[in-house]
């Protein structure tokens, strides 16, 4: 591990351990913005790891940011930290100033893509952004918008939108923002990847899921060792041991799949690795939540227990920025187009191409 990554991991683990408490999580689920947590993240430089140092960031790479984003998942941090990191990176790549405060991103689809127009030399956006993470709390949103059949990345001020608050299964804000000819700034299409939100959004969700899967494992192992039935801890039963062994294997796999995608993002077009990561982490998310709940029994189904903070997030994040089938279909088409004989050589080539840089 790099020294910077070690420092970031220590910092973020300590900070979330202190501030992403049960009280904070519950309050956030009731609609309170966790100001103390966000302020601490900002002051520790964890909200802008990828932003260049001249812009007040840490100038780190995606692989470094991986530890922050995975930890956000592990601690169920009720703030748009991964979204702010991604939005900041896209803006920084475009040479734009990074607005203060939390930022968010909007994943649009064909049915919900706002349109751009130009008036008096200014670009304006009209239309709805559905299910924007912390749309009401974030000051700005980076989204895609359509103009003359072309897709562009834009930065909009959320205060220019009409907001209809909503929540996902994890009771994280997923708000609809409706714009009517609101001013926007276009991101640089040369330097900011056009598919930046859909693609890198899938990558950050994969890392968050890996973190939350790890959390379900830790909770389930702890519970199995503590809970006594039939005169012994249930961890001593082979049926439980094998369930948890499966969960541990899937957790480790999801983490490495996500980390591989983040490493690739520092080196080359990471589309293949991100697709793999979203498929693997999504599959792990479903299995992990099921196993962890089964091991916990009825207590895990109560609000009083903490397991649901991780599992409800897993169910919420799994379909965001494309579910497994969507990414698998893309992977399958890519591989089939190259043919079976190229599969292995392509795979080894990607790895060595990364290492050489």
């Amino acid at each position: 591990m790099s020294e910077l990554r070690d420092i970031l991991e220590d910092t973020v683990t300590r900070l979330f351990g202190d501030l992403a408490t049960r009280e904070t999580l519950e309050a956030a689920e009731n609609g309170d913005w966790p100001e103390a947590l966000w302020t601490a993240l900002t002051e520790s430089g964890l909200t802008r790891p990828l932003v260049s140092e001249s812009q007040g960031g840490a100038g780190a790479g995606w692989h470094d940011a991986f530890v922050i984003i995975k930890a956000a998942g592990r601690f169920a941090a009720p703030v748009p930290l991964p979204e702010t990191i991604l939005a900041g990176w896209l803006l920084d790549r475009s040479g734009m100033d990074i607005p203060d405060g939390p930022l968010t991103i909007a994943c649009t689809d064909a049915a919900h893509t706002p349109t751009l127009s130009q008036r008096d030399g200014e670009w304006r956006i009209s239309g709805d952004l559905p299910a924007v993470p912390w749309g009401a709390d974030a000051g700005h949103v980076v989204s895609t918008a359509q103009h003359d059949g072309d897709s562009r990345l834009v930065l909009a001020n959320t205060s220019d939108a009409a907001c209809r608050p909503d929540r996902n299964t994890a009771r994280e804000p997923r708000d609809r923002l409706s714009f009517a000819s609101a001013p926007v700034t276009l991101l640089d299409r040369e330097t900011a990847p056009k598919d930046g939100i859909a693609l890198y959004g899938a990558m950050i969700r994969a890392a968050q899921m890996a973190g939350a899967v790890e959390r379900t494992l830790a909770e389930a192992v702890q519970y199995a060792n503590d809970r006594v039935q039939f005169g012994r801890p249930i961890a001593k039963f082979q049926a439980i041991q094998h369930q948890l062994a499966t969960l541990a294997a899937l957790s480790a796999q999801a983490t490495l799949a996500a980390e591989t995608a983040f490493r690739a993002a520092d080196r080359r077009d990471p589309r293949f690795e991100i697709a793999c990561a979203k498929v693997i982490a999504g599959e792990a998310a479903g299995a992990a939540a099921a196993i962890a709940h089964q091991v916990h029994g009825a207590i895990g189904f109560t609000y009083e227990h903490s397991l649901h903070f991780a599992t409800r997030r897993l169910w919420s994040w799994r379909p965001e920025f494309g579910g497994e089938s969507q990414w698998a279909e893309e992977l399958g088409r890519t591989v089939a187009a190259r043919g079976g004989d190229a599969l292995w050589t392509d795979l080894t080539q990607r790895q060595s191409a990364g290492a050489a840089e």
């Binding site: 001593k236 294997a249 498929v279 698998a328 399958g332 591989v335 079976g340 599969l343 292995w344 790895q351």
Partner: protein, 382 residues
Amino acid sequence: MPEIQFEPCDLPPETETIREEVRDFLREALAEYPASRLAKSWAEGDAGFSRKVAQRGWIGMTWPKKYGGQERSALERYVMLEEMLAMGAPVGLHWIADRQSGPLILRFGTEAQRQEFLPPITRGEAFFCIGMSEPDSGSDLASVRTRAEKVDGGWVVNGTKVWTSGAHRCDFMIGLFRTSGAPEDRHEGLSQFLVDMKMPGIEIRPIINMTGDHDFNQVHFEDVFLADDRLIGGTGDGWKQVVAELAFERAGPERYMSNIPMIRQLINASTQAPGERAAVGIGRMVAQLATLREMSLSVAGMQNAGKDPALEGTVVKELGVTFEQGIPGIAQDLTDAEPLLEHGDEFGKSLAFVTQASVSYSLRGGTREVVRGIIARGLGLR
């Protein structure tokens, strides 16, 4: 809770040299092999092929030169192995000696044993089989009852080993025998021996597996005399040595790559522009394959860095065999293929073989249940 941690591994550039060498070699050496034979992967042995591999210096390639090795790095060997497996090369005959018997002799053997056995292994002239399981000792390996009784100048062995892959084609066995105590003494009193398969008193009986192939054997020992210098390591150290040997056996890339040739055929059988159903099926498979490779590579990298990724290796086996075991089902589902054994095509013959063989993947090298138990112990549950 001790963490299972896969550190990402970047292969050093020199491994690309051997990768290309192995690819060039295999292009020629495997030119005449039908796809259905390559589908058998490392279950298939070919003495002529093994000797060609030996001539390239790729058996025991990390061992000291004085024992016939090449002193190449563990990661170069890893790349050589994954290239062999990626093509389905018939490495079965020399595989065991290269993977575990040789390393065992190198680590626990006497100088005389190293000089006697290692050079012939590297020349592809000494093939090894594993004498662990017995009719009453499968997953419960510590209960072995085949006994080596101390006599003047050596040991006399009586008992039966079973599921001995390739015993009928191998020159030597490393056998786990009880040298003291009773099966109830479990790990105590076990020792390992180097057994020449041509010794009088050894009878090898074939066990035909359900694919119709002869791979397994039952090996009977009746008053087989082994001289004192056939004992490997210490008397009573057998269990400790076997645990180390099994770590070599479980952590390699063959635990997820057995069906790569079938995957290649499956993708070739689909069109270049597959429908949604086939694309999703192929994509899920490829996501697993790519991730398992990173995991396997990570284990190799950590081993190379002097760490002990035994738990991580076990996790790769758990996920890897489940992955490779699922391939025939995916192939059946996506292609509607019904293999015909007599006049079918290569795809069908390959599919018929791997469909049957795949059940063994989660049995060999430690059953899924044993493997999950090891992971559970690593999690602090046992």
